[in-house]
C-alpha cells in the first residue's frame, strides 16, 4: 500500500475507533499532533485504543508505552512505523 493511501485509511480507522465522526475533516492533517492539546488532544486511553486497532488491522504490535508516544506523534509518523514494521 502506498504511504498516502495508508495515511488516509488510517485516518478513517482512527475516526471510527475513537468515535470522532463529528470531527471537521480539515482539522485532522497528516502531521497534526494527535496527543497534544494544540493538536487533536487525544489522551493515554485513546493511545491504547489505537494500539489495539493497529494490531488488529495491520498486525503490528506496539507493546511499550514510551515507544507509543513517538509512534503516535501524528498520523504520518504512525504510517511510517507501520510500513517499517509490517511483516
Amino acid at each position: 500500500m502506498e504511504r498516502q493511501e495508508l495515511i488516509s485509511e488510517l485516518k478513517t480507522n482512527i475516526i471510527n475507533t475513537l468515535n470522532l465522526q463529528d470531527l471537521e475533516p480539515g482539522v485532522f492533517g497528516d502531521d497534526t499532533p494527535m496527543f497534544s492539546d494544540d493538536g487533536l488532544g487525544f489522551d493515554s486511553v485513546d493511545a491504547l485504543e489505537l494500539v489495539v486497532m493497529v494490531e488488529n488491522s495491520y498486525g503490528v504490535t506496539i507493546g511499550d508505552k514510551d515507544e507509543a508516544k513517538n509512534i503516535f506523534a501524528s498520523v504520518s509518523a504512525l504510517a511510517d512505523y507501520i510500513l517499517a514494521n509490517r511483516k
Binding site: 485513546d46 491504547l48 489495539v52
Partner: protein, 730 residues
C-alpha cells in the same frame, strides 16, 4: 463511652497459605512465590502473566469464586470473637469490591442473560449480593452497603465504618473487601498495558506494571469501649481516616500526588498526629510507573524531607484491586502487633526520578502508628492511620443539619415534567409508553462532541443531573470540601457488557480500554468530580433498591465529620437489554408492569452555610435495617424514627416508595401508611419505571406534588432490607 473505632478481629485469604498469620509471615519474608501463571480461566492473550491466586478457600458454600474466598476470610474473623453478638440491628456490613462475583456471570452477559441456567449465580453480577450474603450468614442486620470505587473500594468501606461508629450510627461493622480474578480485570488491565512482564517491582527504577491478585479481608470494627461485648480485645485502633478525589483524569493519578497527599493530611488531622509519629507508611505501591511516582510525590508533600520508612506488599500478593485497601489495613495491624517494618518485595534499584528507597530489609522495630493508603481509578484516594493503642477517647460526633439546595432529574420522554406529580395532572405522561432511553443528543448540549465522545451514556446522564442540581446555586463550601456520593444498582452495565462481549467474542484479541475504564461503578462520580472540580470524598455505593439512601447516608456522615461541607448526591441506573433481561429473570411480573427505563436524579445538599440560596428540603433522619416480619414491629420502628426526627405522626404527608415487588409488601405499606396517618402512598416507579435508583426521585416528587411538609421515603428492598428516610420540604 469511647467511640474510637477499634479493630477486634481480622480474617484474610490471599495467595499465601494460612490466613492472617500466613500472609503476615510471607510479608515479613517478602516472599513472592504466590505469583504464578494465570490458571483461573483459559486466557489466550494473558495466560503467561503472573497473578496472585488465592489459596485455602474451597470450603465455602457461596456459588461464586469471589464469595468463596470472602467466606473463608469471614470464617477466620468470626472464629476469634463471640460472633453471636453480631446478630443485631446495631451491626452493619460494609463491603468494598471492584467487580464482586461478576466472573461467573461473564458468559451470561454475552448470551444476553438468556438460557444461563443458574439464577442464583446470576445475581452476583451485582456486587452488593456478596455483602447481603455476609449479612445473612452472620445475622448482622444493620446497614448493609457496598462501596465500589475500583482500587480504593475497601478503604472507603473502612472510612465509612469508622464514621458510622464515631457518630454512633452503628455499634460495630463487619468491614469486608474482596476481589477475584476475572476476564474483565485481566483483559482490562492488559488493555491498559499495565500488567508486568514478570513480577511487579514497586518503586523500582525498572518497574513495569502490576500482577493482579485475588484477596479477601474481613475486619470487625467496634466502638472501643464495646469490644468486650463481642468477646474480644482491641488489636489496634483506627485513629485517623480521610478520603479525597484528584478531579484530574479518569484513570491516571495526578502526577504531583496532590489528591493522595490531601487524603493523607486529612487522616493525620483526624488522628491529631504530627507527621513524625508515623513509623511506617504502607503504600498503595502497585508497581506502575504512574502510581508509584505520584505516590512518592505525595509523600514528599506530606512529610517533607522526613519521609518515614515505607513499603509495598503488592510484590507478595499482587494487586487485589477492591480488596487491596483492607489487605493493607490488616497487614498494618499485624506489623504493629509483631513490631516489624517489612521489606518491599520486588524492589531492587532506586528510580532516580523518585529518589526514594522503600524498606530494603525486614527490620524488627517497635512501631506505634502506620499510615496506609489506597489510590484508585478516577483519582479516588483514601487512607487510614492505625495505631497499636491510643489514649484517645472519642466523643460521639453528633448529626449536623442537612439541607437540600438543588435537584436535577432525568427520565426518558419529553412529556415528563414537574407537573406530572401534581394532583389532577391532565397530561398524558405514562412511563410505560415512554422510550426506554434518554435521548443523549438532547443533553449536555453545551459540551463539544469531541469532549463527550468517551463518556458512556450513564455518565452523561449523571453529569447532566448534577449540572441541573447545581444550576443557579451560589455555593459557599469550596471545591476541596465538596463530596460526590453516587448510588447505583447495576452500575455501568452496558459498558461492562460491551467490554466482556468484545473480549469473549474476539477471544481476547480486541480489548477495549475505554469500555474498561468506563465500566467501574465510580465512572459517574469520578466524571462529576472531574467536571466540577470537587475534591472531597468521591464515592459510588450500591445496595439494590436502597442505593440512593446509602449515598445520602454516607454523604451526611462525611458532612457530620467535618471532612466535607456539602455534597452532590445522586443515583443513576440505565436501561440496557442486559439490565432488562437481568431484571426479568428476577422479578418477571413486576418488570412487565414497570418496564426498565433510564433514570437519574441528583441533589446538592450540605450544611446551613454551604449555600447562600434558600434550601428546598431538609433531611431529618435515615434508618436502615432488615425488615421485621411482623408489620407492627416495623411500624413501631418507623414511629421511633419519626420521634427521633421530631416529627409527629399526623404530620406525614405521603409515604414514597420506589417499588412494590409483591402483594405482601403492598399490604405492609397500607398498614404503615394508615398507622402513620399519611395522606397517600406514592409509587415512584409509576413515574420513572423500574429502576434501582427510583428512590432518588422522592424529594423531587414531594416538592412538586405537595409543597411544604414532612414525608417518609420507605424503601422495601428485594433483599429484605429497609431504607427509611424522613424529610421535610421547606
Amino acid at each position: 463511652m469511647n467511640f474510637s473505632p477499634a479493630v477486634i478481629s481480622t480474617g484474610l485469604r490471599t495467595c499465601a497459605s494460612g490466613g492472617v498469620e500466613g500472609a503476615c509471615a510471607w510479608v515479613a519474608e517478602a516472599k513472592s512465590d504466590g505469583l504464578v501463571k494465570l490458571g483461573v480461566f483459559e486466557s489466550p492473550r494473558y495466560g503467561g502473566k503472573l497473578v496472585g491466586q488465592a489459596k485455602d478457600f474451597n470450603r465455602g458454600k457461596n456459588p461464586v469464586r469471589c464469595g468463596k474466598i470472602l467466606m473463608a476470610a469471614l470464617d477466620e474473623a468470626l472464629s476469634k470473637i463471640n460472633a453471636e453478638k453480631l446478630r443485631s440491628d446495631r451491626v452493619g456490613v460494609f463491603f468494598g469490591t471492584s467487580i464482586g462475583g461478576i466472573f461467573e456471570t461473564e458468559n451470561a452477559i454475552v448470551s444476553n442473560f438468556n438460557g444461563c441456567g443458574d439464577i442464583s449465580a446470576l445475581s452476583y453480577y451485582e456486587c452488593s449480593t456478596l455483602a447481603e450474603f455476609v449479612a445473612k450468614r452472620t445475622g448482622a442486620s444493620g446497614a448493609c452497603m457496598t462501596f465500589s470505587t475500583a482500587c480504593s473500594s475497601s478503604s472507603l468501606a473502612i472510612a465509612a465504618a469508622c464514621d458510622a461508629i464515631e457518630q454512633g450510627r452503628l455499634d460495630a461493622v463487619l468491614v469486608c473487601g474482596a476481589d477475584a480474578l476475572s476476564r474483565i480485570t485481566v483483559n482490562g488491565f492488559g488493555s491498559l498495558l499495565l500488567l508486568s512482564k514478570g513480577k511487579s517491582k514497586p518503586f523500582d527504577a525498572c518497574r513495569d506494571g502490576i500482577n493482579l491478585g485475588e484477596a479477601a479481608g474481613v475486619m470487625v470494627l467496634c466502638a472501643k469501649s464495646m469490644s468486650s461485648e463481642y468477646g474480644a480485645k482491641p488489636l489496634a485502633e483506627i485513629v485517623g481516616w480521610g478520603s479525597s478525589a484528584d478531579a484530574y483524569h479518569p484513570t491516571a493519578p495526578h502526577p504531583s500526588g496532590e489528591g493522595a497527599a490531601s487524603a493523607m493530611r486529612k487522616g493525620l488531622q483526624k488522628a491529631e498526629l504530627e507527621t513524625d509519629r508515623i513509623s511506617l507508611y504502607l503504600s498503595h505501591g502497585t508497581g506502575t510507573a504512574g502510581n508509584d511516582s505520584a505516590e512518592a510525590s505525595a509523600l514528599r508533600k506530606v512529610f517533607g524531607s522526613k519521609i518515614p520508612p515505607f513499603t509495598s506488599i503488592k510484590g507478595v500478593f499482587g494487586h487485589s484491586l477492591g480488596a487491596s485497601g483492607i489487605l493493607n489495613a490488616i497487614i498494618s495491624v499485624e506489623t504493629l502487633r509483631k513490631s516489624i517494618i517489612p521489606k518491599c518485595a520486588g524492589f531492587e534499584a532506586v528510580d532516580p526520578a523518585i529518589g526514594l528507597s522503600p524498606a530494603r530489609e525486614t527490620v524488627s522495630k517497635e512501631i506505634d502508628c502506620v499510615l496506609t493508603s489506597s489510590l484508585g481509578f478516577g483519582g479516588n484516594n483514601s487512607c487510614a492511620v492505625i495505631s497499636k493503642s491510643s489514649s484517645c477517647c472519642r466523643k460521639k460526633v453528633e448529626n449536623k443539619r442537612l439541607y437540600v439546595y438543588g435537584c436535577g432529574v432525568l427520565v426518558p420522554g419529553a412529556k415528563f415534567c414537574p407537573q406530572v406529580f401534581s394532583h389532577g395532572y391532565s397530561g398524558d405522561f405514562d412511563i410505560r409508553t415512554q422510550p426506554q432511553k434518554i435521548e443523549i443528543s438532547s443533553i449536555l448540549k453545551d459540551v463539544s462532541p469531541l469532549k463527550k465522545r468517551k463518556w458512556a451514556r450513564l455518565q452523561q446522564i449523571g453529569l447532566q443531573c448534577a449540572a441541573n442540581a447545581l444550576e443557579g446555586l451560589n455555593m459557599n463550601c469550596g471545591m476541596e470540601k465538596t463530596a460526590v456520593c453516587v448510588g447505583t444498582g447495576l452500575g455501568m452495565v452496558s459498558e461492562t457488557a460491551r467490554f466482556v462481549e468484545s473480549t469473549i467474542a474476539h477471544n481476547e484479541a480486541e480489548p477495549l480500554p475505554t469500555a474498561f475504564t468506563n465500566s467501574v461503578h465510580n465512572a459517574v462520580s469520578s466524571l462529576i468530580s472531574l467536571k466540577f472540580g470537587f475534591k472531597a470524598l468521591n464515592s459510588a455505593v450500591t445496595a439494590k433498591e436502597i442505593s440512593f439512601e446509602c449515598a445520602l447516608w454516607q454523604a451526611w456522615g462525611e458532612i457530620n465529620s467535618g471532612a466535607a461541607s456539602a455534597a452532590v448526591i445522586g443515583s443513576f441506573d440505565e436501561y440496557s437489554a442486559y439490565a432488562q433481561k437481568f431484571m426479568e429473570s428476577k422479578h418477571p411480573e413486576y418488570v412487565r408492569e414497570h418496564p426498565l427505563r433510564d433514570f437519574g436524579a441528583a441533589y446538592f445538599a450540605g450544611g446551613e452555610a454551604s449555600c447562600t440560596n434558600g434550601p428546598l428540603a431538609e433531611i431529618l433522619g435515615i434508618d436502615f435495617g432488615r425488615r421485621k416480619k411482623d408489620v407492627s414491629a416495623e411500624i413501631a420502628l418507623l414511629e421511633n424514627l419519626l420521634e427521633k426526627c421530631g416529627v409527629q405522626k399526623g404530620e406525614i404527608g405521603a409515604v414514597f416508595v420506589p417499588c412494590v415487588l409483591n402483594d405482601k409488601i403492598s399490604a405492609c405499606l397500607s398498614a404503615i401508611s394508615e398507622a402513620l396517618g399519611a395522606a397517600e402512598i406514592v409509587r415512584l416507579d409509576d413515574f420513572c419505571g423500574a429502576s434501582y435508583s427510583a428512590s432518588a426521585l422522592a424529594i423531587y416528587a414531594a416538592k412538586y406534588r405537595f409543597g411544604r411538609g414532612c414525608h417518609l421515603l420507605y424503601s422495601p428492598a428485594s433483599t429484605g432490607m429497609r431504607g427509611a428516610t424522613v424529610f421535610k420540604i421547606l
